[in-house]
């Protein structure tokens, strides 16, 4: 079975391992800093960048507010253009629909265009269980699939791997699934890409069924849009007889013209390019060009749950550019797998609890996987206020509906607060701290949850006299 994030440890636990992995940290650091720098340069050349962001956010909010009518419009237009629309309330249903559609074609090996949604719902595993082999075609997704690995980034899923690791995976695994890598394969990126080209081309030429996601769905016209760099997407969208696009309902944009906003934001934010090399748009089926059968599977799988959260619903504006993870100081130190989901980084920290509910310890640990530094807010092309959503989700865990609760922490904070909102008690407590502080050695390691502090930091000196004692003694510094 393909690997999944089932049973993944909580974020702090997974991060202990990840932050200790020097190779991983070097790989992630190099990649995120490279994209960050390229993005910044291209954003700089657009004096209207903030205007584009404002429009992109407003359009998505309009989509979310009227999602029912937009989806009905998409269904009508796609159907009129010769496509078939299916609705899936959850992952199981989406997997059943796709598996059934592939079975109907009689094919047992299909090709896929990288899609985070199909990762989210575990489609490859479901197809595998039905005896269907789904081969990834994007280079990074291929690296992940051949290495029986998990994705760590929404744009560059194998970002955590370096060239020599990739070489080893190709040399070891390609032969098991088709054309083997050349005997003398080195770890030069050009050679690795060439090996992937030859390995995949065989599959493209004989593939009868392709599965994709989509970056955008245009309500006005029923047009789908995929943005990619390598041409593997074009291969799948063009050469197969049957195309099945599995798309989250939030990928909607209102009109064809509105694509101009997102197509100008996406590549700049995602890879630091003005446009990605290839953008494909199609509406249903076209006689004599491309697939003869087109199926669109509209997937909810928690999106309506997120939509019901008045603060959290802005996460559904996300266009999966990855800019938030590329800028995130936490992601930079942990890589993406630490988040235990195909959606890592700041967007993962909010989207996973919104889609699933913070009802298990792993999901409930995600809103806390942030120092709230706010760098993600600034780069997000659709202006998601990550810190607002993180704080709201923490509130759900601390005092709201989420099933996971941190009882000891609540008791501790309540005790502190009980003293703090009463002046005299607080005055006494501050005085006591001054006395106790002199007894604590500076290099001591604190027990329990506070060891997180003393593992890497000395305790501050606790002064002999608090500010308030000084104020009182000197009458406000006048004596």
């Amino acid at each position: 079975m393909s690997k999944t994030f089932m049973g993944w440890p909580t974020f702090p636990k997974a991060a202990e391992t990840a932050t200790a992995d020097e190779q991983l940290r070097a790989n992630v650091r190099r990649a995120t800093h490279t994209i960050r720098t390229k993005r910044a340069a291209l954003v700089e050349e657009r004096p209207d960048w903030q205007d584009l962001r404002d429009t992109a956010a407003a359009l998505k909010d309009d989509v979310l507010a009227h999602l029912d009518t937009y989806l009905e419009q998409i269904e009508e237009k796609v159907t009129a253009a010769g496509g078939t629309v299916h609705w899936a309330a959850d992952a199981d249903e989406a997997n059943r629909i796709v598996t059934g559609l592939v079975r109907d074609t009689g094919e047992s090996e299909i090709v896929k265009v990288k899609s985070m949604l199909t990762e989210e719902i575990g489609l490859d595993g479901a197809l595998e269980a039905a005896g269907i082999s789904a081969r990834e075609t994007d280079l990074a997704a291929t690296i992940v699939q051949l290495g029986d690995d998990l994705p760590s980034h929404v744009v560059v899923p194998a970002l955590h791997r370096n060239r020599s690791e990739i070489r080893d995976i190709f040399a070891r695994e390609m032969g098991k699934h088709g054309r083997p890598a050349p005997e003398d394969l080195t770890d030069e990126p050009e050679e690795l890409a060439e090996a992937a080209r030859l390995h995949m081309r065989e599959k493209f030429l004989k593939a009868k069924v392709a599965v994709s996601g989509a970056n955008f769905m245009v309500a006005e016209t029923g047009t789908l849009c995929i943005v990619e760099s390598e041409g593997n997407g074009r291969m799948c969208l063009t050469l197969a007889d049957t195309l099945i696009s599995v798309v989250g309902i939030e990928k909607t944009v209102p009109t064809w013209q509105d694509l101009e906003v997102y197509l100008q934001l996406l590549a700049r934010s995602a890879t630091g390019e003005r446009m990605a090399p290839y953008t494909s748009t199609w509406t249903g089926v076209t006689d004599g060009d491309g697939p003869r059968a087109f199926h669109l599977v509209l997937v909810d799988n928690g999106r309506t749950r997120a939509l019901a959260d008045p603060v959290g619903r802005q996460a559904l504006r996300c266009i999966r550019c990855g800019a938030c993870m590329n800028i995130c100081p936490v992601y930079e130190r942990t890589g993406g797998q630490t988040y235990g989901s195909v959606y890592p980084g700041p967007i993962g920290a909010i989207l996973n609890p919104l889609l699933k509910g913070a009802d298990d310890p792993q999901t409930a640990s995600l809103p806390y996987a942030s120092s709230l530094c706010g760098a993600c807010n600034e780069v997000c092309p659709v202006k998601i206020r990550f810190t607002d959503v993180l704080l709201k989700l923490r509130h759900d865990v601390a005092e709201g509906d989420a099933k996971v609760k941190h009882r000891a922490e609540k008791v501790a904070l309540k005790a502190v607060e009980g003293v703090m909102d009463r002046g005299p008690l607080w005055n006494a407590a501050v005085k006591a701290a001054g006395t106790a502080g002199r007894l604590l050695p500076k290099d001591m390691n604190l027990p329990g949850p506070l060891h997180g502090w003393t593992d890497s930091r000395a305790l501050p000196d606790i002064p002999k006299e608090s500010f308030r004692s000084w104020w009182k003694r000197t009458e406000g510094g006048t004596k």
């Binding site: 359009l59 029912d68 074009r234 090399p277 909810d300």
Partner: protein, 209 residues
């Protein structure tokens, strides 16, 4: 209840707190390339050339009369090339390689065994160095511009738009469109750009008046 109804009902419940009336969308972003004044078509063309060249594409400005020579030059290293329906025969007249018509449609294997493809385009966008193909005359199906390793694209100056907003409204969404911004590339290995993964590795643009 069908899943369609389930999902739609969930959406309506989830958005019950939101106003149904549409809210006006701010539209203050530029409709043209930031560095080129509106109406400056020379500036637009210069920008397109600059961007395409940055991508590693070869760009040549060619007079109509010299187009067949320029095509032959661009195809110098190719032994075979696809000519989609509607591509003027005269353009390939100076070239002595094997011209493959896509009628009846060439199989993927045949396309894979062809060195080059020559097409026109539906539009070009200077700001992002983008060529848009819509399957119209001289462009043909999508597959022939994908499998051969060299794509030679003839662009008319009048087809070049300053930026995306100017171009997109003139394109027909009901046709399958391919937007090409430089040759196939990847940066999936250590963020190092490698040109040519699955699509054509070389792109030559002939810009004609």
């Amino acid at each position: 209840m069908s899943s369609r109804e389930t999902v739609l009902r969930r959406i309506r419940q989830a958005t019950a707190d939101l106003p149904r009336d549409p809210t006006p969308t701010p539209r203050s972003y530029l409709r043209h390339a930031p560095t080129v004044a509106p109406g400056d078509q020379d500036g637009v063309l210069a920008l397109l050339i600059e961007r395409l060249t940055e991508y590693g594409a070869e760009v040549r400005r060619v007079a109509d009369a010299d187009l067949s020579v320029a095509v032959a030059h661009a195809l110098a290293a190719a032994r075979s090339a696809v000519a989609p329906a509607g591509l003027p025969d005269a353009w390939l007249a100076q070239w002595y390689g094997l011209v493959r018509r896509d009628a009846p449609p060439l199989t993927p294997a045949e396309l894979d065994a062809t060195d080059a493809v020559v097409t026109t385009c539906a539009a070009a966008i200077a700001e992002s160095g983008t060529l848009v193909l819509d399957g119209g005359p001289g462009q043909g199906r999508r597959a022939p511009t994908l499998l051969p390793d060299l794509h030679v694209c003839v662009v008319r100056e009048s087809q070049v738009h300053s930026a995306m907003p100017e171009a997109i409204g003139r394109l027909d969404a009901s046709r399958p469109l391919t937007w090409i911004s430089g040759p196939s590339a990847t940066a999936d290995i250590e963020m190092i750009r490698v040109q040519g993964v699955h699509g054509p590795r070389r792109l030559t643009v002939l810009l004609v008046p």
